[in-house]
């Protein structure tokens, strides 16, 4: 198996996993489940999806540390902020 086939196969698996996570998110939206742990679960899937898009689709896996820190930092800050705001709203 040459390198390009290997890369394409990995990308296809990532695509399928991204689709599966999206369907999971939709299933959660249609379920009765809600609350902090569900929000944490949703945000964990956001982080995993974001990581794959950043590292493999955007190809920042091969970029310098600064770019990877900026991109992953963005997704962590945004997800963390969303969770903090959600918990503030619980009261």
């Amino acid at each position: 198996m040459n390198n390009q086939t290997h890369v394409n196969r990995r990308l296809t698996w990532i695509w399928l996993a991204l689709m599966a996570f999206t369907i999971l998110t939709y299933a959660i939206s249609k379920s009765e489940y809600s609350g902090t742990w569900i929000v944490v679960l949703l945000l964990v899937t956001v982080f995993i999806k974001g990581h794959w898009i950043i590292a493999d689709f955007m190809e920042l896996r091969h970029a310098g540390l600064l770019w990877r820190v900026l991109a992953h930092g963005w997704i962590i800050l945004v997800s963390g902020g969303i969770l903090a705001a959600y918990m503030m709203g619980l009261k």
Binding site: L11, M19, L42, L43, H62, A63
Partner: protein, 196 residues
């Protein structure tokens, strides 16, 4: 010899795809979207009942289908990049065309969603939830259009033999922007349509 090998190792290890300028632009966009998302989240914290009530009027299935469309379109774009890296310009063009089609599908579904809301008399002034929903999704919608224009320009150049295995910075530049549009949506969808 040894230093040449080390140099090529460094080049292989650290590679920023596309133009540096697009990355400055991408991070400026991410900053703006990040502020939008956190503004929504913290506004919701002060109006939980209102946000939960009106969130139920959104069509989650449309949002989910649009997520699948953007993810798939992003996958097609990354396949276009690997195709041109292998020197296959025709396959690159085909993948780009498929990606643009995916973006088109996203726009059609989003227009239907907007039309439904407008037909019910909903506007930016209806309430805080709709102000955020309409402005954030419309702002993103405009980025999908811009991304499609960029991909179309890359496609036209690729079709006329403008890119090769050795020189394909333009393809990577367009691809990076399109992935940013996808990245933003995978946060927007659960935030606005699902979290309650």
């Amino acid at each position: 010899m040894n230093s040449t090998v080390k140099q090529s190792e460094i080049t292989t290890k650290y590679h920023l795809p596309g133009d540096l300028a697009i990355w400055v632009f991408i991070f400026a966009e991410l900053l703006v979207f990040g502020i939008f998302f956190l503004s929504y989240a913290f506004s919701r914290a002060g109006n939980v009942e209102l946000f939960n009530k009106y969130q139920q009027t959104l069509d989650t299935a449309s949002g989910a289908i649009n997520t699948l469309l953007l993810i798939t379109s992003s996958y097609f774009v990354v396949r276009a990049v690997t195709a041109i890296k292998a020197g296959d310009a025709q396959r690159c063009v085909n993948w780009l065309a498929a990606a643009i089609l995916g973006g088109g599908g996203f726009l059609v579904i989003k227009v239907m969603e907007f039309a439904d809301k407008f037909s019910h008399g909903i506007s930016l002034g209806t309430n805080t939830f709709y102000m955020f929903y309409l402005s954030m999704t419309f702002f993103h919608f405009m980025h999908v259009i811009l991304g499609m224009i960029i991909l179309a320009a890359v496609l036209i150049k690729a079709r006329s033999g403008g890119y090769s295995a050795a020189e394909h910075t333009g393809v990577e530049t367009g691809a990076s922007y399109w992935h940013m549009v996808d990245l933003v949506w995978i946060v927007l969808f659960p935030l606005v349509y699902v979290i309650r």
